[in-house]
């Protein structure tokens, strides 16, 4: 101890420099070791099913279909090609989940709310461009935009024009993160067009709705439902499937199917950089079989296979003036015109309404 101290006293600067550089070297090594971790999390929760051994497929999905996928994955694991397959699932707002996968979150199957969320991954080279080449355009189940209201519909909401009446408080998610929010906004836009309004008038409707009647826009459909069931708002714009699930779960709500509404086509795709491509593709293909389609229907989703859809037609009435995204111009055109981060018409309306969009 004495010798060390004597040396230190004799060469103080050297000792200090040595200690400093040693620490910085160690620090650099620590940082380099930590640099490899790129596990960005989606803002949703994750869950794993409990099958042991075998392959684990990771499913990254939008915020609301957890119950449906729990039922579907449980049923799939009972089939012959599903034996030994287990699933880890992640749910969150569709836009945020898509960006997380694009930034490196591992995924074998991606089930998002809107087609642009999958196109983002095609552009990033993570999903093959023929993902929607099957006869259902890559959409295993449909839904529609509905109005979720308090039990008994105390404010007598029946149509889109009721939403902009003064004193009606509407809850809808934030379109910068949520896919459901975009479906909702486009449904309102398309409904106005169906009523004979011009595009400019339809935009004015949306401006009134988002500025005067919408007071809170949570980041995802599921958090919007929680906000609504927590007591906020008179109407929630949501997926029909989410409303059915909430009613089944015992929430004190009803849902109204408006006369004019938008068909929600939620796509699913297999990633091309996953390690279990064939098993993932087998699972996705199975989702179109009658057995799987029946499970979709029982969970509140509209089946796409005609033979199953006709069995459940009483549960899923067709709205008289249903329209689709292609009748509005298709996703790539709409995504750019309405939701472009700097110039989108809806982005500008949301900014004027004081909702966090993007700050650049």
């Amino acid at each position: 101890m004495n010798r060390g101290l004597r040396l230190g006293r004799a060469l103080p600067n050297l000792k200090r420099a040595g200690a400093l550089s040693c620490s910085l070297l160690v620090g650099g090594a620590v940082l380099a070791a930590c640099g490899g971790s790129s596990d960005t999390s989606g803002s949703g929760g994750s869950s794993s099913s409990t099958s042991g051994g075998g392959t684990q497929l990771s499913l990254v999905a939008y915020s609301t279909p957890k119950k449906a996928y729990d039922a579907l994955t449980a049923a799939y694991e009972q089939t012959s090609q599903g034996k030994g397959i287990s699933f880890s699932q992640s749910f969150g707002p569709s836009g945020a989940q898509s960006r997380a996968v694009a930034s490196g979150q591992p995924a074998d199957v991606v089930a998002f709310s809107t087609e642009p969320d999958i196109s983002r991954l095609v552009k990033a080279g993570m999903v093959a461009s023929g993902w929607d080449a099957n006869s259902y355009q890559g959409v295993p189940s449909d839904s529609v935009v509905v109005f979720v209201v308090r039990k008994g519909n105390p404010k007598h909401i029946t149509g889109w024009d009721d939403l902009i009446k003064p004193g009606v408080d509407v809850v809808t998610p934030n379109p910068s993160t949520s896919g459901s929010a975009r479906w909702n906004i486009l449904a309102g836009y398309g409904a106005q067009l169906k009523e004979g309004k011009t595009p400019a008038q339809a935009l004015a409707y949306l401006r009134t709705l988002l500025t005067k009647n919408v007071s809170v826009q949570p980041s995802s459909a599921s958090s919007a439902l929680q906000t609504f069931t927590g007591g906020k708002g008179d109407v929630l714009l949501d997926y029909e499937s989410d409303a059915i699930a909430a009613k089944k779960a015992g929430d004190a709500i009803d849902y109204i199917l408006p006369k004019q509404t938008l068909l929600i086509q939620t796509p699913i795709a297999v990633t091309s950089n996953g390690s279990h491509k064939s098993q993932a593709a087998a699972f996705v293909q199975w989702l179109y079989t009658p057995a799987a389609q029946t499970i979709w229907a029982k969970e509140g989703y509209r089946p796409v296979v005609q033979s199953v859809a006709s069995q459940f037609s009483s549960q899923f009435p067709t709205p008289p003036e249903l329209f689709t995204i292609s009748s509005l111009g298709g996703w790539s055109k709409i995504d750019k015109t309405f939701f472009d981060k700097s110039n989108g018409t809806i982005t500008k309306i949301e900014q004027a309404a004081g909702v966090p969009t993007v700050s650049s």
Binding site: K15, R16, L20, C22, S359, S360
Partner: protein, 263 residues
Amino acid sequence: MPGVRSRVRVRPGRGGLGLGVATLYMSVIVLIPLAAVAAKAFGQGLGALWSSITSSVALTALGVTLASSLLVAAIGAVMGTLVAWVLVRDRFPGKRFVNALIDLPFALPTIVAGLTLIALYGPQSPVGIHLAYARAGVLLALLFVTLPFVVRAVQPVLIELDPEAEEAASSLGASSFTTFRRIVLPALRPAIISGTALAFARAIGEYGAVVLLAGKVQIASLVIYNDIESGTPEGAASLSIMLLAVSLLVLVLLRRIGGRGAT
């Protein structure tokens, strides 16, 4: 010399291993992450950074957050001092319990604080007060999380305060208010300023307590998180740098006002 134990004298300013470890810790935990944010913000080019900072969303968020945090810090300074005074100078049943309660905002996860406030002051409020999704609710949430800072800064100083000066003042005929104003407050001032600075810093960066309550109130931390979630990390970095710069300025000013006694 045998038999004499040489004493290891700790000389200040020698550095060595202590300095190295401290530098490493500060770098890894604070400086390098800050440098990364600055790199991301400036990496988009000064023009883009400027337009990002001066966008209406960023300016509104900055303004609202600053105003709320300053207000909360000011209220906290007054009420925190009062609470500390009562806890030190007064006697009442349950004093120990109340003293322990002051630390509750530290112990509670901030999201739980947000949930509690929504349950209490949200649409289904059991007391009929509806403050959620508005500025008032955000202010309440910030007051909740910043409560302990001023109290815990002032308490030890109050405890140590020598009662002689106060006794001398009152024996010379000063009213209790004058005694408080001329004797006690100047002694407490550095502690109050220090606690207020901490409360301000905490309020400006709060996320968990306000995320559920904010509604359309533009709080900077929520805008930054939304930027990241919606795929605009450069916007997030720009606003973060602005927030950092402004809070640093306010903190430095507060320290200046605090004077020599503030640490």
